[in-house]
Symmetry: C2
Amino acid sequence: MLEYAEPDSAELDSVFHALADPSRRAMVDQLSRGTASVSQLAGPLSISLAAVVQHLHVLEQSGLVRSQKLGRVRTCAIQPTPLRVAEQWAADRRAAWEHHLDRLGDYLAQQPPDQRRKH
Amino acid sequence: MLEYAEPDSAELDSVFHALADPSRRAMVDQLSRGTASVSQLAGPLSISLAAVVQHLHVLEQSGLVRSQKLGRVRTCAIQPTPLRVAEQWAADRRAAWEHHLDRLGDYLAQQPPDQRRKH
DNA sequence: GGCATACTCAAGCATCCACTTAGGTATGCC
DNA sequence: GGCATACCTAAGTGGATGCTTGAGTATGCC
């Protein structure tokens, strides 16, 4: 029944941090439409190729991207699991909050109107 | 039909950045279970209250948390929308990648086996 | 071999980040 | 008024981040 391993804090740190930069998000976005080489990733970005390589390291360390080199060309591919880990973390907190609001609403609805001022 | 406004890069920057710190995530996690004062947020964390206030500013600037002061006490509440924005961004890229894999699979399945070596 | 391509690495630099301490203000209670 | 509580702000610090330039290495093609 274990669908997701509980993500440790360090994993969430690195995934959210990786996604917090617009250049890296653009790279992930491009990779979501298909694999790409390092220079293809650099193409749309107005930063040096060396900077792109550094961003790629960040993405690989977070697990969001994997790459392998064939000949001169390094081909990069997105990895869906860390995306889902981040997604799930946010969804869980949002669900908890909405559940909390529901219970609060039920509670308040049960109180007679002249008692509500106390809460 | 517009369900979500397209999030601008700056908003995603600030939301992902806010979530990239374990203390801030712990604060969001606590707030997902109900509102809390600043010192209640600081309670479980082993950092100074001043640091918690600074984290709170980051969370408020990202829109993840809102707060209001009543008397001496500032009460903080989570805001679900930025969580959903982050969630949706990740989900969209994951969906695009999975769709891409499907199309690639279909394409390869259409090729006669002796042609596949070319691709 | 010669040369372009596609990265890769290292050093340097300005900025940002998380955190602390020290001091401050506003509120509630006696 | 006196005092504790709850928060706020500023300044400083060590370390991480994003970027550049300059140089290097490996591969593919003629």
